[in-house]
Symmetry: C2
Subunit: 500 residues, 2 copies
């Protein structure tokens, strides 16, 4: 028997699925920040069980009929409910493509591989990762095949669609080709210009962790991070986790270089503000989720790269940095710090990369993960292929796999099809920030005084509060006048790095 | 259709119920230690949902038939499996007595009241707690009535049975009457003796939190706490949470009195060792659970009161305390510290009470919670009844409700029928410690050298590894030669406080 009001019944069920997912999000955060190592198998069992329970709720025998009945009555739903129903269907197709045992195997394989990765990275020992990573790839391919059939997509597009609904390789290939034609020349010109100008003065450390932590909290608060609904902690791989009402961001401290942690905090704060700004009435329903990883990454990069490496923000931040570490002198003037924060140079580590070279790191990963999933690259050959790609794209070769193919958590963690969203996010960030500056003339002046409220208000209205009511391109078009493209990003790089 | 092997199917289901319960345990810990205040409603929703999911798995339509079929084949099960089936049935009766909506309401009411309690206690404002506490009492009475009917017990015994399976008021009344006849005279004699001997020298603070924390970790490690499978954190109300593979204990620091945190850590370490010592092969099945709160509390009190307030332990610990705080002098000699740690005096706060007056705090709570649940005491009259009882039992009246009826988390948190297990645990602790000393002659000498391994080995074998294979009295009888009684506790008090 079907419910009297099938849509209302679906909302009830998705609220419950959301609660299980939110519980899992906190447990995931705990695993990376608090959990003692000996509990990894215990935690894997908890997370796999919650995953299967969520999957079973989603694929309950009467769900197909509930969705169909609700869709029959769609004409009577208001726009939020209609969009919610569309998102429910999308989520259902993804889940229903997979049998429960595959969901459980995927969760357990990722947990096992993530734990192996922590050790393997520490020891620069790719071989130690190989067995569990091979298992992750095998399972990911099974997942991709099943979802490809259900969605009528290629295997890679089906995986990408989990992170960026509607995201497709064809589109990415076009955008990346555009960047690949632009970036090498850009990089060369920036490097020459920097060389001519001479190196900025180094900031003299060390920078005690506690002082860094306090500065990070102060700056996160300046951007709008709400500590009544969130925390900042430490983890090996910085991330934003938790829930919209309980946002947990992490960073890691390096006593020789406080910018890594600080910029990490500003980056994750961008993610956190998106999460915290999701529509209050819908945040426990599919339509209230963040639209996808492209817009999510746009929010972190907009804060870190667009706003916080601007002259305006560095001018505001420099005296606070001096106060935090008790420093003075020419090196600590805003102009010098700004030069440091906009320094461009090829490096091994993606998360430390500047915004000119960052897309090249992504192109490498995108290329490699597609080859692996297509069966064109054996996992055992990954380190060699990585180093070759680094040489080709960035002109440097990492001295070991910790600085190479072991640096990222994503593949061990099962996030295949995720990497391209970083660079698509960088494009969206440039596009959104340009639109915000145009719409709000006083925006940069306010940032120069440490007042992020005009920027945040614009982002709340034009991105955060939209949740998943429309697709990424629609949200971008409404906010910026155009779908996702490379023009704003290229213009931004030229303005920041080649003019003035 | 019933499974081919109904017992195996039950094990599969209870493993899953255990995983959901363990996830909830970590989320509960997080709520008390890490969660930002603004997330309380979000967390309440997660915990209520997990509670209902666990309850639905337990009360699935075919569970009654599965249990009955497995019980038909009980003769073929080995002792662990037979006991596991018995524990499954017991858990099922408890859960099956309650409809899902009552389970959810109970969880939500406790979450709401716990949050209100934090504020109310801070402000000594009982009236602010009254609305949510009234809701908790109403729901607890509904729960108690439903379970009483299912178990054939009185309402209070049905609630007590959740925490101490087989625990009954009749037995408690007898044991408590015995103590009530003994303690007032005992207290008077100890106080006179102490007065004649003069006060111990005070330890001169303040004691920085970080130094306290390090000392606490060192001492927890000395007792056998395994940091590879556990953590020590801070919370308003100290507790042991988490799972057997991931034990989370908490304490709170007072810079004027390091004994509070240190003794708290030693107490919770006793709980933690029990959890960590549960049978490895059965810890995710009902038979692998701790037997009940009486034995659980026996393990914490055995460590804190029996072992760690002994001359032997204080002699070992005193130089480490001096080193931790950079102290010296007569006050810091073991003899003086031992006098401090065995000081007896009526006080307002249960968790800070000495072992002579502690049972009187419990008797007060036991008396009051029975009266409230019987409808003989209106909640609004609780503060007055509390103060009257304090005057009668301990001869002192708290100046405000924060030091009175607002001090404990248990009633707000929905744990009615829990309090008596503390004093039953104290009796069991004395009985077990006496048996251990008799069985292992070198036990105290080892403790004097900071070697807890002989004690821990005896506890592992005689208590921890037994899980729930037998009932509390059977475990106690096998370990000590007698069921739970008052003799060892009274003998212990007389030896420690009135002889030598």
């Amino acid at each position: 028997m079907i419910a009297n009001d099938p849509y209302a019944e679906l909302e009830r069920r998705f609220a419950r699925i959301s609660a299980v997912g939110r519980a899992g999000a906190i447990l995931n955060w705990d695993r990376s920040t608090m959990m003692p190592d000996g509990a990894s198998e215990d935690r894997a069992d908890q997370l796999a069980t919650l995953g299967v329970i969520g999957h079973e709720m989603m694929t309950a025998p009467d769900m197909a009929e509930l969705l169909a009945s609700a869709e029959d009555g769609k004409a009577s739903l208001d726009p939020w409910r209609a969009a919610n129903l569309r998102e429910m269907r999308h989520a259902w197709i993804h889940d229903n493509a997979l049998p429960s045992d595959l969901v459980e195997a995927r969760s357990r394989a990722a947990s096992a591989c993530e734990m192996a990765w922590r050790e393997a990275r520490k020891n620069a020992d790719f071989k130690a990762l190989l067995p569990t990573l091979a298992e992750v790839v095998t399972i990911t391919m099974r997942v991709g095949e099943a979802k490809a059939a259900a969605l009528g997509l290629t295997l890679y597009d089906a995986l990408l669609d989990e992170y960026e609904p509607g995201g497709r390789c064809q589109r990415i290939d076009t955008l990346f080709a555009d960047l690949e034609a632009f970036l090498p020349g850009m990089l060369q010109r920036v490097m020459e210009r920097q060389k001519a100008a001479g190196a900025p003065l180094p900031l003299d450390g060390p920078f005690p962790v506690e002082a860094q932590r306090r500065l990070g909290l102060e700056m996160a608060g300046t951007l709008g991070f709400d500590f009544y609904h969130g925390r900042v902690d430490v983890s090996a791989h910085p991330f934003t986790g938790g829930t919209a009402d309980d946002v947990r961001i992490t960073t890691r401290y390096d006593e020789d270089d406080f910018a890594r942690a600080l910029m990490g905090v500003l980056h994750e704060t961008g993610h956190a503000l998106y999460e915290a700004g999701r529509p209050r009435d819908w945040r426990r329903q599919p339509v209230g989720n963040a639209r996808g990883m492209v817009l999510h990454e746009s929010q972190s990069l907009l804060m870190e790269m667009q706003a916080c490496r601007s002259d305006a923000f560095v001018t505001f931040a420099a005296p606070r940095m001096r106060a935090a570490f008790g420093k003075s002198g020419t090196a600590w003037e805003a102009a010098n710090i700004h030069r440091i924060y906009t320094r461009v140079a090829p490096g091994f580590i993606r998360v430390d990369a500047d915004e000119v070279t960052y897309p090249l790191h992504i192109m490498l990963r995108y290329r490699l993960e597609r080859a692996i999933l297509a069966g064109d690259l054996a996992l055992a050959d990954l380190p060699a292929a990585w180093n070759e790609g680094m040489k080709e794209l960035l002109g440097i070769v990492p001295p070991n796999d910790s600085l190479g193919c072991l640096q990222d958590i994503h593949w061990p963690d099962g996030a295949w099809g995720y990497f391209p969203t970083y660079t698509l996010g960088a494009l969206a960030a440039a596009q959104l920030f340009a639109a915000a500056r145009k719409a709000v003339p006083e925006l940069m002046a306010a940032i120069g005084k440490g007042d992020f409220s005009p920027l945040l208000a614009w982002l709340r209205t034009n991105v955060h509060a939209k949740g998943s009511i429309a697709d990424t391109d629609t949200i971008l078009s409404q906010a910026t006048g155009a779908p996702l493209g490379t023009a704003a990003f290229k213009a931004h790089l030229e303005t920041r790095y080649l003019s003035a």
